[in-house]
């Protein structure tokens, strides 16, 4: 046996050296290798490009405020917002409210996301489940989930439960739809391969359907997270004793415009950070994809 293999290896090498006509394409395999310094340079210039517009806006804003062109109650200057931010950070208030908000968004997203994934997998895999569930889900999806918020508060009161239910009701749909679409988008030709290779139903799910649907699932995850974040703001603005939304609401009542801006910025920055995290997850799991990178 081993002798035979050696012989195979020998001829294999011989043939490869002699005529490897099919070795033209793999250069793409190394296309992505760059030196680290040019990588860093590119990253910096990318950052510079995306920061240009915000930097210009902030500069004009600060100048207009310092020159007394706009009233500070109406539009506080970036520097006064920064000092309000520093104050809230030092007092620990900001960390407390942000922690509460993230806890709510995380819990709601987790429950809504798991339900969305579960239902999406069910309807994606089984035609009967699709006929049973999908029409109802589609009807509910078209109701703006924030329109249901008053009803949710009526049912669950002003406590934590209603806030989390509002977030759940938002984050369920994107993951549900994208999981469903992801599964239905699996190439039928690969199902034939699974047949020929004798995959069991479990293997078909684990080795074919889930990996193939992963781009859709991850997109759904990202969209669900974004919706959860929006739901959080609404839930906290409607009525709460803590959280970043509460901070904004309280500042509004005290005409403390700087703090409103701090709250808005926190929502923006944390939302963006979470989105970046999910993009990184996508890149890690989907690096095999052969799509246009821009």
């Amino acid at each position: 046996m081993s002798e035979g293999i050696e012989a195979i290896v020998k001829t294999a090498k011989g043939v490869r050296e002699a005529r490897d006509y099919s070795g033209t394409a793999p250069v793409t395999a190394y296309k992505n290798v760059r030196t680290s310094s040019s990588d860093r340079k590119r990253l910096l210039s990318d950052l510079g490009t995306s920061a240009a517009i915000p930097a210009a806006v902030i500069a004009v804003w600060q100048l207009a405020g310092s020159a007394g062109l706009v009233s500070p109650e109406f539009l506080p200057t970036p520097l006064s917002i920064l000092s309000a931010f520093a104050e809230l950070t030092v007092s620990g208030e900001l960390a407390h409210h942000l922690g509460v908000s993230m806890g709510r968004a995380g819990t709601g997203f987790l429950i809504g996301g798991i339900l969305g994934l579960l239902f999406g997998v069910l309807t994606g895999l089984f035609r009967s489940a699709e006929y049973l569930l999908d029409p109802s889900v589609q009807v509910l999806r078209l109701v703006p989930h924030l329109a249901v918020a008053p009803l949710i508060i009526l049912w669950f009161g002003f406590g934590e439960v209603s806030k989390i239910v509002i977030i759940i009701s938002g984050s369920f749909f994107p993951l549900y739809i994208n999981t469903f679409m992801g599964i239905r988008g699996v190439d039928n030709k690969l199902f034939e391969v699974a047949k020929v290779l004798g995959f069991s139903p479990v293997q078909k799910l684990r080795r074919l359907i889930l990996p193939a649907a992963l781009p859709g699932i991850l997109l759904g995850l990202r969209l669900s997270m974004a919706v959860a974040w929006i739901g959080l703001v609404v839930a906290e603005l409607i009525g709460s004793q803590s959280g970043v939304g509460f901070l904004i609401n309280e500042a509004k009542q005290n005409s403390n415009t700087e703090v409103i801006f701090v709250g808005i910025l926190i929502f923006a920055v944390v939302g963006k950070l979470i989105d970046t995290l999910f993009r990184a997850i996508e890149r890690t799991f989907l690096h095999w994809r052969d799509s246009y990178q821009g």
Partner: protein, 258 residues
């Protein structure tokens, strides 16, 4: 060679289309011996792919008998390896994981076999590459290795090199013959390339279209490795070509459209 491995008798297959029933295969009879290399050639629409898919268990609803080692074809399975025209690799798996697919690479036995096959199809150094990084020929070699890992009794190839350029195709033909001479896996190879059919097969099965049926079976008794430039090769090539021209005439008199 010797034992009959695959036996096809009185095989008929029809498809229901919008315009009514279309007979794809009529009275196909073919006995394939163990270790034989059969090439099937014919114009498009002659049912050659259908024939292969029936043997693979992918197409059903035929009449007649198709048996592998005496047992009726039940459905698709690893005893019947199938190579599609496109490589159909899993894009999210590396070369070695594609070859293993559902089998655990962690098992020493599987690992050893996968490594041997990577040698056999000459893909050393590309074990960790993803399908998008491979050329068409390389990807098709991965697909062949994936089928061979399951030690199929018969390997069914449906125009596997059809999408490759002429140089890569010639190279792949030698690679495939090399594999066949070492493993003695029985092969049925569907193609529309006469040179390819004569270069590879022990026998060339010529199908004619509408309805798909066997027109002739031409034995190719040239020794391997064959050279496409020799007179004996060219003679056989002409013989196949002649059989084809009759097929074409038939098609014209029938008025069947292209």
């Amino acid at each position: 060679m010797g034992e009959i491995l695959l036996s096809i008798t009185q095989l008929n297959k029809s498809f229901g289309t919008a315009g009514g029933q279309v007979q794809a295969l009529r009275n196909v009879e073919l006995q394939v011996q163990e270790g034989e290399f059969i090439t099937v050639i014919g114009p498009s629409g002659c049912g050659k792919s259908t024939l292969l898919r029936i043997v693979a268990g992918l197409d059903t609803g035929y009449t007649g008998r198709v048996t592998l080692e005496g047992a009726e074809i039940g459905g698709p399975g690893i005893d019947k390896g199938f190579i599609f025209q496109e490589h159909r690799l899993f894009p999210w798996l590396t070369v070695e994981k594609n070859i293993a697919s559902d089998l655990p690479l962690g098992k020493p036995e599987i690992r050893r076999k996968v490594d041997e096959l990577i040698e056999l199809v000459k893909l050393n150094g590309f074990e960790q590459a993803y399908p998008r990084e491979l050329s068409g020929g390389m990807a098709q070699r991965v697909a062949i290795a994936r089928a061979l890992l399951r030690s199929p009794k018969i390997l069914l190839l449906d125009e596997p090199f059809g999408a490759l350029d002429a140089f890569t195709r010639a190279h792949m033909q030698t690679v495939l013959l090399d594999i066949w001479r070492r493993n003695r896996t029985t092969m049925i190879f569907v193609t529309h390339d006469i040179d390819e059919a004569v270069f590879l097969g022990n026998r060339v099965v010529i199908l004619e279209p509408r309805p798909g049926q066997i027109r002739r079976i031409i034995p190719v008794d040239l020794p391997y490795p064959r050279k496409k430039t020799t007179n004996s090769f060219q003679e056989l090539r002409l013989k196949v070509l002649n059989a084809f021209e009759k097929v074409d005439e038939l098609e014209l008199t029938d008025g069947a459209g292209i």
